[in-house]
């Protein structure tokens, strides 16, 4: 019994905004000025991107915020976030770090009576920050993955991965005779399953990879790792770096295709 | 109904549903000279109002 998650690349039209950002947003008692024709804002773009998630439909009912664990962080919540966008306060929203506390868990849109896709808006707002001002941790992971042949957020070199896998495998084969013929194939062409691997394990907790191997072994599954693009994680998605996100997905898919596997088994 | 030939107009009305609206319309019609067929699918008349406890804003008993 194994969980399957087939990731499908989705076409998204992305508008990139360049804003200058300085320091954190301060919630000051300064009146929000609304006048005349509004300049083009998220509001307008969202309508084009996700008509069903039209944020101006918001009833300000509070359901999203009532259910959101990020409510209150950075003095924000989904409703306030939405409200600021409705009022065209794009710049202030951009300054807030709140969108980075959203885990896109979708509890909000799950119940929103107007089905407003708040996570999608969060994604757009993240994407609108200049790349160099997005949180370093995620950006680093994304960059590392893009720059790594493994697509690993930890930048794990291909050789390291191969070494660790084989090393651990051998160790276990030796120590646990019942699993003497357990395999952890890499780049096995035509295998049934393409298994990816979160970089954390090979890098820091190699033993944690073993249970999965054992299960696959016992289940008699015909699987393989890939030496390249084997990393499961994709931080570019979280960075709202669509371009690189897509690049990574394409690279992983290409690798799977290259190995001629039938199914892409995502462990993430 | 036959608008062209008023002689053929039936002096009867079928009312479907016997909640508060159905009963009122049936009473009005019967009280002013029309034969009413009141049709209800449950065994008694009264509809949802009979299930209510009190009614707003007067807090009158709904029964």
């Amino acid at each position: 019994m194994v969980l399957l998650f087939v990731e499908k690349p989705i076409e998204r039209r992305i508008t990139v905004y360049i804003y200058f950002l300085e320091g954190k947003m301060i919630m000051a008692e300064v009146a929000i000025k609304l006048e005349g024709k509004s300049k083009r804002s998220f509001l307008d773009d969202i309508k084009e991107i996700v008509p069903a998630g039209n944020l101006s439909l918001c009833l300000t009912c509070g359901l999203c915020s009532s259910g959101c664990p990020a409510t209150g962080l950075f003095d924000m919540d989904p409703r306030k976030f939405l409200r600021m966008l409705v009022l065209g306060m794009d710049e202030e929203v951009m300054k807030s770090d709140w969108p980075w506390t959203c885990t896109m868990c979708q509890r909000c849109v799950y119940v929103c009576p107007m089905k407003i896709d708040i996570p999608q808006l969060v994604f757009n707002v993240r994407a609108a920050r200049p790349r160099d001002q997005r949180p370093k941790g995620i950006r680093g992971s994304c960059d590392a993955a893009v720059n790594s042949e493994s697509c690993s957020a930890m930048g794990t070199p291909v050789e390291d991965f191969i070494f660790v896998v084989n090393d651990v495998l051998e160790e276990y084969r030796a120590a646990q005779p019942e699993f003497a013929d357990m395999v952890a194939p890499i780049d096995k062409v035509g295998a049934e399953f393409f298994v990816n691997q979160n970089s954390r394990e090979p890098m820091t907790e190699p033993d944690e990879m073993v249970p999965l191997w054992k299960i696959l072994h016992l289940a008699g599954v015909d699987w393989t790792y890939s030496s390249k693009a084997w990393a499961a994680e994709n931080y570019c998605l979280f960075l709202a770096d669509n371009e690189n996100w897509e690049t990574l997905v394409r690279r992983k898919a290409a690798q799977a295709d290259a190995l001629g596997v039938k199914t892409y088994l995502n462990t993430e | 109904m036959n608008a062209e030939n008023p002689q053929n107009v039936q002096g009867s009305v079928m009312v479907v549903g016997s909640g508060i609206a159905g009963m009122q319309t049936a009473l009005d019609l019967a009280d002013s000279g029309f034969y009413v067929y009141l049709v209800e699918k449950s065994p008694s008349i009264g509809g949802v109002m009979a299930q209510l406890d009190k009614t707003f804003p007067t807090n009158d008993c709904a029964m």
Partner: protein, 148 residues
């Protein structure tokens, strides 16, 4: 076995993808491994489960205080369930919940789904037990001599 488990439904595959149906499959597997009587549900759960706070890049974003605050509900939920183990089906959940337990002094353990699966199959070696608590450290150990 009298140890009680609870299960964290990953937002990605449950609410966002396959809904309650996959959550049920997930439970089926877990119950096979630990025994139905040992599964304590959090509430809400399945499609309406609370996110742990590890996803969406939150773990890497650098806002640690906020992230732990975010996870407070999850921590409370796990504690309220009465379980001492939380089974996670997702790397991020695993990492976040592990940290929550430590941060809020919950003293519950978090284990990967397949760790518990392997444990129940009796194939879990001593080095693969980093995340098991003392009560399970020595259960069904596979080749104890391989301990490092």
């Amino acid at each position: 076995m009298k140890i009680k488990f609870t299960v964290q439904d990953p937002c990605q595959i449950v609410r966002k993808s396959f809904g309650d149906a996959i959550a049920e499959d997930f439970r089926y597997a877990i119950k096979q491994a630990i025994g139905e009587e040992n599964l304590l549900e959090m509430s809400p759960n399945k499609s309406n489960n609370y996110c742990c706070g590890g996803g969406g890049g939150f773990l890497q974003s650098g806002f640690k205080d906020q992230r732990l605050e975010y996870g407070r509900i999850k921590d409370e939920q796990i504690k309220a369930s009465g379980a001492t183990y939380c089974i996670a089906g997702c790397h991020n959940c695993h990492a976040q919940i592990h940290e929550l337990s430590h941060h809020f002094g919950g003293h519950y353990n978090v284990v990967h789904f397949w760790t518990i699966l392997a444990l129940s199959l009796g194939i879990l070696g001593p080095n693969e037990r980093v995340y098991l608590g003392d009560d399970l450290k020595d259960v069904n150990v596979f080749h104890p001599e391989t301990a490092i």
